[in-house]
């Protein structure tokens, strides 16, 4: 048989906030120092009267916020400068300027989470579902128009008689003793009840949902465009005899503005294809824009194959200034742009035939610019 525990506390009610404030020194003078007040609204001076210590939450939030700033910076520095360096907008990998917004966000995140969770769990000591004050008779009044004062035990000892007398003598009324909450850890029965309750709730919710879907199938809000009759690519359709939604073009036809590349190798293309574009300033200008947008990132703006970017990687783009490519026919270069070569992918999807020929013309101009003939300077 364990010793009878001290009660949670003795609660008394005061008619006004002023009466509560005036009663507290008297209660303290009688030797009760562990006090708590329950009021329907915040009362000025109550913290000082109760002698509550300054909350440590602010300090904690500050430390965590600083930690948030530092850890965000370290993480950004590690991801952008150490682990996976990417060139973004030509900035250095380790650019503190770009890190600051994220540092700010993480600082705020750490601070708010620390403030919210710290308040609830560290200082309000949640989860604590059964505060005896909730079961008291006075709970209605203290949330409406009475000001409650609770005398709690000091080091587990509370003289209930003296506490009740102290409350009554300082103008309190409705004194009640609140029993200590059951602090024993939950037993097997509690766990069984809780877990089977959760399981039952899952089963009911699952079957209920399944049943409801049978009766009320999901109703999309607006389906007019989704259900219209049409042929879908890659889908079966009864419209055509073969049951395919997508049909092959008739044999021998070519789409408008599209010339299939029949050559099977760059050498073959070099022999067969003729550059259809005349070399005019407009064509070269277009070729330069396209080259600088699509090709220069690997082949460099001069076509040397050594731009500053690739030095960070292992790829070895072709040096278009090399004699192999200077002597290669136009069709060879056209084929490589269209079909790719080695690590270089096909650019046929991005560049039309005319675009590719314009680039070929511009590559020729680049090569000429680096290997000028005597008559070019006359």
């Amino acid at each position: 048989m364990p010793e009878p525990e001290a009660p949670f506390g003795v609660l008394g009610l005061y008619p006004t906030a002023q009466a509560l404030l005036e009663a507290i020194p008297g209660i303290k003078a009688r030797g009760f120092s562990n006090l708590e007040a329950y009021t329907p609204f915040p009362v000025h001076g109550l913290e000082e009267a109760l002698g509550l210590k300054k909350s440590r939450l602010g300090t904690l939030v500050f430390i965590m916020a600083a930690l948030g700033a530092v850890s965000a910076f370290l993480f950004e520095w590690w991801t952008s400068a150490v682990d996976y360096p990417l060139v973004i907008g030509g900035k250095p990998f380790n650019s503190w300027q770009a890190f600051v917004p994220v540092m700010f966000e993480v600082t705020v995140l750490f601070a708010t989470f620390t403030a919210g969770l710290g308040m609830l769990f560290l200082f309000n000591k949640l989860p604590f579902f059964g505060s005896p004050i909730l079961g008291s008779k006075a709970i209605r009044e203290t949330t409406k128009d009475r000001f409650g004062l609770l005398i709690m035990p000091v080091e587990g000892v509370l003289d209930v008689e003296a506490a009740s007398a102290a409350l009554l003598e300082t103008g309190g009324s409705g004194v009640e003793v609140l029993a200590a909450p059951d602090s024993a850890p939950p037993g097997l029965g509690w766990w069984l009840k809780t877990l089977s309750g959760i399981a039952a709730a899952c089963v009911v919710a699952g079957f209920g949902t399944a049943w409801a879907i049978q009766i009320y199938p999901t109703l999309p809000p607006m389906v007019h465009m989704e259900v219209q009759p049409r042929l879908d690519a890659q889908k079966a359709d009864s419209f055509f005899a073969d049951g395919h939604g997508m049909q092959l073009p008739p044999v021998g036809t070519v789409a408008r503005g599209y010339m299939p590349l029949l050559a099977k190798s760059p050498e073959e293309a070099g022999k067969e294809l003729i550059n259809p574009l005349p070399v005019t300033p407009a064509v070269l200008q277009k070729g330069r824009d396209l080259f600088n947008n699509h090709c220069a990132v690997c082949h460099d703006r001069l076509g040397t194959g050594k731009p500053w970017l690739t030095s960070a990687y292992t790829a070895k783009p072709a040096n278009l200034q090399a004699s192999t490519y200077r002597e290669a026919p136009d069709g060879y270069i056209y084929y490589v742009i269209s079909e790719g070569k080695g690590a270089m992918p096909s650019y046929a999807a991005d560049l039309s035939a005319n675009d590719r020929w314009a680039i070929v013309d511009y590559v020729r101009a680049l090569q000429r610019s680096q290997h000028a003939e005597p008559e070019d300077v006359q």
Binding site: H44, G58, F62, K91, Q97, A98, V100, P101
Partner: protein
């Protein structure tokens, strides 16, 4: 007036006279550019403190704030600095061809300046400046002057009228302060673009107004002339100082980061010249001193109610407003960081004059707006 205060006035005037000689020597020895650049720093500083206080008064009426009513007389009194600064502004017009590239003949050959010449030309600039000054007198008359009359008449309708004019004064404040920022500071480098620059100057202006208001309040508070003012009122001033320290940092960094990211030549050169050479040290000092130091000094709850702490942070922030203006203005007119006897002379010239103007202003009317019907309610304010 006691003989002690007479001595103070005389010694301040003496200091100012020494400064005046130094300023004149600056013009003769160091040349007009350095003279007018220093002049511009102090002119904008005076505008910032005065208009900042005027803004606080108008803001209080606009949001019908009650807690600040007992303190309102301080910004009301100090807002007259915005009017005292008028001679400085008018004199600075003489410096236009010295400081501003668009006012020089050579400016006509720079395409970016020619593009902006519809706005940046001397006659229109003078007209704008005169309009701004006139609007400040108007704003002062609308939102401050009657409050002093209320001390005698105790007419509650005056409060209603002040509140009615507050939005107009706020609009005047926003337009004229942005004009000051774009005309007097930004156009030192007319090629530069920054939409946020007006807000940047606003952040510094509001902070300067708050710092001046806090100093004025503490001056009265420490002499027992503000009975009923509690730490709760001081806490709000401290909270404002703290909040707008962060606001300044936010705006300053936003302007910097966007330009750093965009890397457009017409924007980024401005920062480049302010973050290279000796200016980098000054930029770092500015970032630390204008943001981190006051931030850490005011972050705790206790600090915001401590008169001692509030006083030095306010003085600190005013000093950093000056450093900020120096950092904004001087790189535009000279390549090197130059802090020497000319700058000291200008401080000697204008600081005593500013203190005298503030001192005269602080003697005007009652210490609290005794005729305001919300005064009692404001005194009862608790956090």
């Amino acid at each position: 007036m006691s003989s002690g205060s007479g001595t103070t006035v005389r010694s301040l005037l003496l200091l100012s006279a020494v400064g005046l000689m130094g300023a004149a020597a600056t013009y003769l020895v160091e040349g007009p550019v350095r003279f007018w650049a220093n002049w511009l720093v102090w002119m904008v500083f005076g505008i910032a403190v005065g208009l900042g206080c005027l803004f606080i008064v108008a803001l209080e009426h606009q949001v019908q704030s009650i807690w600040s009513v007992p303190l309102r007389r301080v910004p009301e009194r100090l807002s007259s600095l915005a009017l005292w600064v008028t001679p400085l502004v008018l004199a600075a017009l003489l410096g236009l061809p010295v400081l501003y590239p668009w006012a020089k003949p050579a400016g006509a050959s720079v395409p970016a300046i020619v593009l902006k010449s519809a706005w940046l030309n001397t006659p229109f600039f003078i007209v704008r400046t005169l309009i701004c000054v006139a609007l400040w007198f108007l704003a002062y008359g609308l939102v401050v002057k009657r409050s002093f009359e209320q001390d005698r008449s105790r007419d509650p309708m005056i409060t209603v009228r002040l509140r009615r004019y507050a939005p107009l004064v706020l609009a005047i404040f926003a337009l004229t302060l942005t004009t000051v920022a774009f005309d007097w500071i930004s156009s030192l480098e007319p090629v530069w673009y920054s939409d946020i620059f007006g807000v940047y100057l606003f952040a510094g202006t509001f902070l300067s107004g708050l710092a001046a208001t806090t100093l004025g309040t503490l001056y009265l508070y420490n002499r027992g002339r503000l009975p009923g003012i509690t730490k709760d009122h001081l806490y709000n001033l401290g909270g404002f100082l703290f909040a707008f320290t962060v606001f300044w940092g936010y705006i300053a960094f936003a302007q910097y980061m966007l330009m750093w990211y965009g890397d457009m030549p017409e924007e980024v050169f401005w920062f480049k010249q302010r973050t290279t050479g000796g200016w980098l040290a000054l930029a770092l000092i500015l970032g630390i001193g204008h943001f981190f130091v006051p931030f850490l000094a005011l972050v705790s709850r206790k600090a915001k109610t401590s008169p001692k702490r509030l006083r030095w942070v306010s003085l600190w922030l005013l000093a950093f407003m000056l450093i900020d203006l120096y950092w904004l203005i001087f790189p535009a007119v000279g390549a090197k960081v130059r802090l020497g006897w000319p700058e000291l002379s200008f401080a000697l010239l204008f600081l005593p004059l500013g203190l005298l103007a503030a001192r005269a202003a602080m003697a005007k009317g009652e210490d609290t707006p005794v005729g305001d019907p919300f005064l009692q309610e404001g005194l009862e304010f608790r956090l």
